[in-house]
Amino acid sequence: MTPGDFIGQIIYWVEVVILSYFVLVNSWYAVLLVSATFAMRTHVLRIRGESRWRVLSSSVTPSISVLTPAYNEANTIVESLSALLGLHYPNLEVVAVNDGSTDGTLEVLRERFDLVPVQPVYRRVLSTRPVTAIYRSRLNPWLIVMDKENGGKADSLNAALNAASGELVCAIDADTLIEQDALQRMVRPFLIRADVVAVGGTIRIANGSRIQSGRVTDPRVPTRALGGFQVVEYLRAFLFGRLGWNSLGGNLIISGAFGLFRREEMRDAGGYQSDTVGEDLEIVVRLRRMSYDRRGPGRVEFIPDPVAWTEAPEALGPLGRQRDRWQRGLADVLWTHRRILFNPRYRALGLVIFPYFVFVELFAPLVEAIGLIGLAIGAVVGAIDLPFALLFFLLAYGYGLILSVLTLVLEEVTFLRYRRFTDRLLLLVWILFENFGYRQLTVLWRLRGMLNWVRRNKKWGAMERRGFAPTEPADPRS
């Protein structure tokens, strides 16, 4: 055997291992999709014809505090808070935290909401950077604004958690637009089961949609490729990814942009961790871990019908930084809680869910990159023939394509948010093209994230927000 043959053999077997990895991962995705389909069917049957009027007018409905941290959000804060204050929920309190903004966020709030200083009696269970003042709005008495020294998103959320009076707390980003009835929908799992500690809702991309008074009035699919690809990604992640996990051991992720938690469990767990960029994932892992350690409640559910809309980055730079941050956060949290991995004490969490996040969510970009590079080298040195390369692409991308299309089918037969047929066709186009270039870019960004995590880089990276300005009415001919 010549050295060339030997290298060829190694590349061949590496590719076989990677191919087997893709078979396993895609088969698990198929299991998730089947699980999601059953969960969706049960959910839709349960909510069909439902009147949420009772929840809306009941005096025993759990109270909710919406926690919204804001750092230099002067452009968007009034719009977001006005939308939050207009949510249709009976016992609602909004706690906004100005995290030492330097762009006049507090002044904007003072002027717009007529804030007056107050001294609420609350216990500082979680330590945070000093709170310099607390205000209550004279126009909307259920709006509380906390002004504090800059400490980051997790620190702001902890400050809000200290002051919140609701039985449930809803953590959202200041640039997130929640649909008016979303909280009524989101509270359902807490009414159904006593062991639920957290519930996540669906996040959708607002880019390209018509927005009026902080509401998405006409959901549209973005016509720009980067926005369109992200719509597909979000649909896949929420409609089959998270929903599928509900009946396979529970969820591990609740989006930081929109999640509802039991306040006491959050406080008992110690609130959000400030020294990670994946604080939303970390708190859920900790809550779940705590439930096994203390034998207490710890169910984390995802429900698909409450929707929050967010602005997705439409330039490569900010998008790359976002994905880099997500990957760093994931690596950080999985490393912090590494004792859960394959630990039978944590049952499904330790034996199924956590390993999935380590070997699929964390390592997938690494495996995909090795696979692609190996394929290219293998083709050059003649170690891999054309049928093998085709098989690789079919399993790596073809299967993914099918899952994306089936997710779209799930959306089509259930919620059908994009009412225009042309929008749904456009989604099909984005599904088809996301595998050519975009997917490889996300692999690169995620690899960069892992590298940065190894270097212990904990920066958030700047995000450019344009704000949800009311858009012009769409052309009626469109």
Binding site: G49, R54, S59, Q119, V121, R123, L191, A194, F421
Partner: protein, 337 residues
């Protein structure tokens, strides 16, 4: 295989999308006309155009419009819509649905009957349904039929295994209001925690002297949660016996009970307790300090005097709580011990 699945999925998306678009185009217009005709009928117009327009529609659309409009009506207007729904066969259809073997069909039928049926029998038979969502729907509908036997059945459901049903019962009993007091007081008299705790929460929503005897008894329950709930009820109702019990609960080993008792004494403006409340401002439990301070605040001038004295107390916990309740800004040194 992959190609076939992909092709089928794409074909489904295109065909379904086209079908939805084309069928909606026609249906939306007819639904708009029917909605308008039904609204005209409700505000005093002729019934026949509404009936004709609704009969033109498929059953699903009929139901959607009847529910959409009926949900916003009460009294004679709702009676008109119910009668029309009966004539269109919607009510009979829903009655058949609640006899189905499928839980989701029963649920759909129950939801329709809750709004459109004036006869409760079909719905109330679902109070024993094996599915929690169906049972909760039946419980919800019982608010419109508060007969004594229904109330007794609802109170028995306070110990239902399903969280959703317990929530629905609490809500329904509170909506029914005064007719619930007598049977709920009797239930409290013979129950223990944890059922008693839920019942006490309902009692708190409609405070009445008939709850006092049971609440006094439950103030000695082994569960701290139950004792705290009893203290809240006693504080809301008032009277000589509640005052004595609340004073004794100030020495309870559980902080939540002490806090509830302190707040209750404040609500009843029992100023002789101000000294004991002042002493509790230094309690190691934050909730007790908070309860004592808020209790003192409710004693008006007498309480405020005690709180102002506590501002200079040697105990930093007491001073801080007094400052917080009086709304005096903290200096950096004394902020939140």
């Amino acid at each position: 295989m992959e190609t076939v699945v992909l092709a089928l999925a794409v074909a489904f998306l295109v065909v379904h999308g086209l079908w939805v678009t084309l069928s909606q185009r026609n249906l939306v217009k007819r639904e708009r006309l029917a909605r308008q005709a039904l609204t005209d009928f409700v505000v005093g117009g002729d019934r026949s155009p509404a009936e004709a327009a609704l009969r033109e529609l498929p059953p699903r659309s009929q139901i959607r419009i009847l529910v959409e409009i009926g949900r916003n009506l009460i009294g004679s207007d709702l009676v008109k819509v119910r009668a029309l729904a009966g004539d269109l066969g919607v009510v009979e259809h829903a009655r058949r649905q609640v006899r189905s073997r499928q839980w989701h069909t029963r649920l759909r039928g129950a939801r329709l009957l809750t709004l459109l049926d004036s006869k409760p029998d079909a719905l109330l038979s679902l109070l024993d349904d094996p599915n929690d969502a169906v049972r909760a729907q039946a419980i919800e509908s019982a608010a419109d039929h508060p007969r004594p036997e229904v109330i007794d059945r609802l109170i028995a459901l306070l110990s239902d295994q399903a969280n959703l049903c317990r929530f629905a019962v609490q809500d329904t009993l509170l909506r029914i209001g005064p007719p619930v007091i007598e049977p709920l007081a009797a239930h409290l008299g013979r129950s223990k925690s944890p059922e008693a705790t839920i019942a006490l929460r309902i009692a708190l929503g409609m405070p009445d002297h008939r709850f006092v005897e049971a609440a006094v008894e439950l103030a000695n329950d082994p569960s701290a949660e139950c004792r705290a709930a009893a203290a809240e009820v006693l504080g809301a109702v008032g009277g000589t016996a509640p005052l004595l019990v609340l004073e004794s609960l100030l020495d309870d080993p559980a902080g939540s009970v002490r806090a509830a008792a302190a707040m209750g004494l404040g609500m009843l403006q029992h100023w002789p307790a101000s000294e004991r409340l002042a002493a509790m401002l230094g309690d190691r439990d934050f909730e007790v300090r908070r309860g004592a301070a808020l209790g003192l605040q409710r004693l008006d001038a007498a309480g405020e005097l005690v709180l102002r004295k506590a501002l200079t107390a040697s105990d930093p916990f007491a001073a801080d709580m007094a400052r917080l309740v009086l709304g005096i800004a903290a200096s950096r040194e004394v902020r939140h011990p």
